[in-house]
Amino acid sequence: MDTFIQLTVNGLTLGSVYALIALGYTMVYGILKLLNFAHGDVFMVGAFIGFGMLQLLGGPSDPVFSIYLVLVLVTLSAMAGCAMLGVAIERFAYRPLRDAPRIAPLISALGVSFFLAYSMQLMFGAQFRDYDTFAMANGDLFFKGIDIGNVKISLIRIIVIVAAFVLMLVLWLLVTRTKTGKAMRATSIDREAAAMMGIDIDRVIVFAFVLGSALAGAAGVMFALRAPVSVTVGFLAGLKGFTAAVIGGIGSIPGAMAGGLLLGFAEAYTQGYITTRWSDLVVFAILIGFMLFRPQGLFGKPDIQKV
């Protein structure tokens, strides 16, 4: 039973990060019908920005302010930096291709992903960076926490899970309660009709990229708090976030959240109970299964093409 609880907590932590990444994919796909392959690398850049900010604010063991305030600042700076990056990518790599055949922006996205990852390597080298969370607040983040029976849930996990859910809630509110959010949903249903209704499509798209990239940046920081990152981490993380978006139903925001959590649990349980070596294959098998039997995912609507 203890193992189950621990694995569930693991899955929740992993899944929250995947959900944040998946949300970025899903929002962009909903409007542009574009799979933004560069999203995973934006996530990676967020982790690095956070790392830089952490060093600037004194480092993990000797921060300038309280460590919790520092963490908030680090996350916010990563979110801001990634938002700007996302806007730049959209403006220069995707906007010129908006009316091109579908394959064109996809290929451009592949190029951006590659360019980003190796530019980071040019600038910062190939080694793994560690936030050294253990050293923060004298190990409090690891040693303090809640106990459920015999299972210890460390403070850092709680922070990550809560922060992720808060961000998802904020996103949900932004998308459902604000005017721009409504405009975004309208554009994702029918771009031309939305344009005819007076919605500024460019602004809506930028809004989607800002939100998605900011979430990816936050996800990067949360991921890096628990595991070391290097420039190659973006590819796999992007892939998993992507899988989560598709499983949940690409284009659907609640779907991305559900898909992310589902993926997190699947990975945790597979690794914990069955096998660690083939766990990636299991995840892929789940995805292929969805693709074949329910391509619209959990929450998506079947793609009906109007002639």
């Binding site: 992993l14 080298g125 190939a126 080694q127 793994f128 628990r226 290097s230 766990s279």
Partner: protein
């Protein structure tokens, strides 16, 4: 925007390609006419190096490169030679390594090669290097079959300055059983030749000594081990986790503590890094102590730090310096013996096994074993990480 201009662009592309191809091929063509003549010791001699400079293992190769550059810069003038380092990125691709080897074979001023850094690439290229009589001095390929065993895969041109898995595995296993009194050990590898080989070797000895072993594998990209940690039985004494990334050993150890498991992490030479792997109570084995414990290394370390500001000392660099030192000494010996001041690759190859070095960067003095192309009496040192993060020798 612009009008299409496919033809001029086409012509330009062809011209550029022709130019580039000529540029890179011509020096090689010009030099190949001197195929067997030998090269004068007063000219600039090259040492080739093959290591992964980008990709998943890029951090490893970059570290090795920085020390190799230092060796060429410092030791060349000390030995009275003009030396240049030519480095090639083999990534983790053995075919690329083979391609690079061809490049160095074609370049007549390359007299010896450092690496290839990975065991797989070393196996793939060793015969080619021997056929061309080019010495390869290796600083990180620890696969035992490269120099030993019935199915020995290394050619006579393969030399190694670090001890191999067949030394590290049993040393670690014996320590675990005899000193740490470990009865249950979980071994984790990351599905690539170095860790798999080392885990195999350690597991074999552990079994012989009567310990219970469980074997797990994770993918090489994985850096969050929470679920694997959950799976590890609570009564495990040691988790043997060889890795080339100290940060991963660190994360593993921290997550074990986080989930309240009593097992300690025992890692291998790839994880040696006081800055990145410093969880108290863990163990790590290395073929040398941290190099800054030897006073005679101070100038070398200072020079390295000056050239690489902000970087921390890691485990892969110093052996590369040592390998370069061996190669350069072999070249020097060949030059001294040469009749008319010019040497061939074969002559350098003959001299490698005779090289002896005092004040070896990894401690003590260096010479090759008489039986194999491994260092003589190579030992592994085991360290325990102390409360302040420093490494203390315990064997």
């Amino acid at each position: 925007m612009r009008k299409t201009k496919s033809f001029p662009l086409f012509a330009a592309a062809v011209a550029a390609t022709a130019l580039a191809a000529t540029v890179s091929a011509t020096p090689a063509a010009a030099k190949s006419t001197r195929a067997t003549a030998g090269i004068s010791c007063s000219k600039t001699l090259d040492i080739g190096m093959l290591a992964p400079l980008t990709g998943a293992a890029g951090f490893l190769g970059q570290e090795q490169l920085s020390w190799a550059k230092l060796a060429a810069k410092r030791l060349g003038p000390q030995l009275g030679l003009k030396v240049q380092l030519v480095a090639g990125d083999q990534q983790l691709d053995n075919a690329l390594a083979a391609s690079l080897v061809q490049k160095y074979l074609a370049d007549q001023s390359v007299m010896a090669v450092l690496g290839p850094a990975t065991s797989g690439a070393a196996i793939a290229t060793t015969d080619t290097l021997f056929a061309a009589k080019m010495a390869s001095v290796n600083m990180s390929a620890t696969n035992t079959t490269l120099t030993k065993g019935a199915d020995k895969k290394g050619s006579p041109a393969f030399f190694r300055v670090v001890p191999d898995d067949s030394v590290q595995g049993p040393t670690d296993a014996r320590y675990m059983v005899n000193e740490l009194k470990a009865k249950k050990v979980v071994l984790v590898d990351v599905r690539e030749p170095y860790t798999v080989g080392l885990a195999n070797s350690t597991q074999a000895t552990l079994r012989k000594l009567g310990a219970t072993t469980i074997r797990e594998s994770v993918s090489i990209d994985q850096s969050d081990f929470s679920s694997l940690v959950t799976k590890i039985p609570g009564d495990t004494d040691v988790v043997f986790f060889p890795t080339q990334q100290p940060a991963k050993a660190q994360t593993f150890a921290q997550q074990l503590i986080e989930q309240g498991k009593k097992a300690v992490v025992f890692s291998s030479d790839g994880a040696v890094s006081q800055d990145n792997f410093n969880v108290p109570g863990s163990y790590v084995s290395n073929f040398a102590g941290p190099v800054d414990q030897y006073k005679y290394n101070a100038p070398v370390i200072a020079a390295w730090k000056k050239d690489n500001p902000g970087d921390t000392l890691g485990p892969f660099g110093p052996p590369t310096y040592g390998a370069a030192q061996v190669a350069l000494n072999a070249i020097k010996r060949a030059c001294v013996k040469a009749k008319n001041g010019s040497i061939t690759r074969n002559q350098v190859l003959q001299q490698v096994s005779k090289v002896r070095i005092k004040n070896w960067i990894l401690g003590g003095s260096f010479r090759f074993s008489t039986k194999t192309h491994d260092p003589l009496n190579a030992k592994f040192t085991i360290f325990q990480i102390q409360k302040d993060g420093s490494y203390k020798v315990v064997n």
